[in-house]
Amino acid sequence: MRLVAEHLEKRFGALTAVADISFSAEPGAVLGLLGPNGAGKSTTVSMLAGLMRPDRGTVRVGGATLGIGADPSKRHIGLVPQELALLDDLPTRMNLEFFGALYGIAGRALALRIDAVLELTSLSDRALDPPKEFSGGMRRRLNIACALLHEPQILLLDEPTVGVDPQSRNAIFGTIEALASAGRTLVYTTHYMEEVERLCDRVVVIDHGKVLADDTLQGLLARAPMPNLLNLRYDAPPDTAALAEIEGLAGITRVELSGLELSVAAVDLGTAAPRVLERLAARGFRCLELTSRRANLEDVFLSLTGRSLRDT
């Protein structure tokens, strides 16, 4: 089911939290909403989830305009809030029974759905324990499970991995990828570029409540002012012929020599690095040190906003 945001705008008094945001999320894909804290991501998610009415613009769920309150279109949406929105004192199964019942699911249907989401999030063996006894990662997984009970076609994940260990993060990524493979529409909000690079098919970069870029990951990386760089230090400076040969290799976009340091810009570091090393070695140059730097979304964000994601 397609989720479309059209010119969303939201103000809180004098503060414009969301100025003009438009994008669409497609079934079977993960759309990343990337932006620093305070960029307007959570407000956007609130409008996408039907928690907040936009001052201007609309949200369309499978073609229908989304309202707030008891709007039936909300049944198609599952929200994973940034906070651990759980009832800590009630057993996990009771948590799931409660959140499932909010969507009108009851009886055997609810029991089956609970078993399914517990299986999906690897929590089946802890169904009788309350979340207050869980690790951070398990609580995050349960937080996701609660949003899946009513089998939403659209899943909004608002910073779902905050404060979890790498193992749990991988487990969460696995769940998200499985959901995307199953044809769900996923909107993933984060300020971790590594997560966007790992998960998202398409990325919407937001800052100050506006969309700065909306593209595939490769498309965004192509906008990076700094390309992938291979930095090599040799025992002697490569001569002009060697530099010309390197420049002529496929996928090499720039070659610069500074003393013993050779800097090579490449489209793909994985294929460029062995070729460069091989050609220079054949000419008798011995590489003393090799480092590489891959262009990333941080560079893209910096070029788009003039500030770093991590500064915020």
Partner: protein, 374 residues
């Protein structure tokens, strides 16, 4: 159907969370029983055949005439007084230190002067009463009893007073039970405290994102807030039931009036408590400040409502003011149905007032509720 399933789940969730919270159970059920038991004991217990509390009183007879001795002897036979003879200095010291409530002093020559004064021959002699200013109610009692005993002795040769006093405790119920009032007051107080917790919990749910998740579901405001009212009302009724079962089986409190009337007052007050919680959640912003201010407001409400000290002991202006306080109607309604033993129709006005306030509180809650705030 979907909304009904959700409504039931929301109510069940509130009940489950309350019943699993041992601290809440302890505070809401055990504490009012203990405090009401203590206050009830202080204010006269179950009102059965327990002896009347005697006022400790000193007598200083510097006259030592036949009349003064007869009066002192008569005072000593009074069941409401505990008379001790002593010197003026001792009396002053013991009244001043609070060990005695008051002292009566018969000056030398009192007997002769009193007899002559009765005939109008000379000015009346003075009988001095020393009293503890912290016990202002004792002074008029002592004055009245003293007058009664002096006149009885002075006029003993004349015709006796042509009546006797027969004391009858007037209530429609079988017997006054101080526990009945104290349990009414403390139940009201602790249910109000529970309602504060319910309101603050809603604020916490907002902070912790649970509220966000509830609002993400296709549920109307009516379902979200209405289920909250029903859940809190049911918790209040659970507390009511538990506390009054203890009151009945341990402290002998009886619903001497209408059982239906008692239930109606209990339900009306439970609804009031639930809407109070909702109003707190609607008006409150930060959890800490809201909790503090709400407790202060609740204490004022129960104090003015006569939950601690019966409202009839208030000055008249305060009694009038307290009629605008909903807790006053709850306490009075419960008193009416328990120890006063009044019929069902006596519960109607308290129920109507409590429900009226509930509507006001609910409207304020809906008006002030910040739906979009996270």
């Amino acid at each position: 159907m979907n909304s009904l399933t959700a409504f039931r789940a929301l109510v069940r969730k509130d009940l489950a969370l309350f019943l699993r919270d041992r601290r809440a159970l302890l505070v809401s059920v055990i504490t009012p029983i203990l405090i009401a038991g203590f206050f009830g004991f202080l204010f006269g217990g179950s009102g059965d055949d327990s002896p009347v509390t005697r006022v400790p009183l000193a007598v200083v007879d510097q006259d030592a005439s036949g009349l003064s001795k007869a009066i002192v002897a008569d005072l000593g036979r009074d069941p409401s007084l505990a008379i001790v003879s002593m010197t003026r200095e001792e009396a002053q010291e013991r009244v001043g230190s609070g060990k005695l409530r008051a002292a009566i002093l018969f000056s030398p020559g009192f007997g002769a002067a009193a007899t002559e004064a009765l005939a109008g021959a000379i000015a009346k002699p003075a009988v001095e009463v020393l009293y503890d200013p912290s016990q202002p109610l004792v002074r008029p009692i002592v004055e009245g009893l003293l007058t009664q005993h002096v006149m009885r002795q002075v006029t003993r040769d004349a015709k006796p007073v042509p009546f006797t006093i027969k004391n009858t405790a007037v209530s429609s119920g079988p017997q006054y039970n101080a526990y009945a009032h104290s349990f009414a007051g403390m139940t009201v107080q602790f249910i109000l405290f529970m309602s504060i917790d319910a309101g603050v919990t809603l604020l916490l749910m907002r902070q912790q994102g649970v509220w966000r998740r509830l609002r993400a579901a296709p549920l109307s405001r009516f379902v979200l807030l209405g289920s909250r009212v029903v859940g809190t009302t049911m918790i209040a009724l659970l507390i009511f039931t538990a506390v009054y079962l203890a009151a009945m089986f341990i402290f002998g409190v009886r619903i001497a009036g209408s059982v239906v009337g008692f239930a109606a007052v209990a339900v009306a007050f439970a609804i009031l408590a639930a809407t109070t919680g909702l109003m707190i959640a609607g008006v409150g912003r930060s959890v800490g400040a809201t909790r503090g201010l709400s407790i202060l407001a609740a204490l004022l409400l129960v104090m003015l409502g006569g939950a601690w000290v019966p409202a009839f002991l208030f000055p008249e202006w305060l009694q009038n003011v307290s009629e605008f306080v909903p807790t006053r109607w709850a306490v009075d309604g419960l008193d009416a149905m328990t120890w006063r033993g009044l019929p069902f129709h006596a519960a109607l006005l308290p129920v109507a007032v409590l429900l009226g306030w509930s509507v006001v509180f609910a409207l304020i809650a809906v008006w002030r509720f910040d739906w979009e705030g996270e």
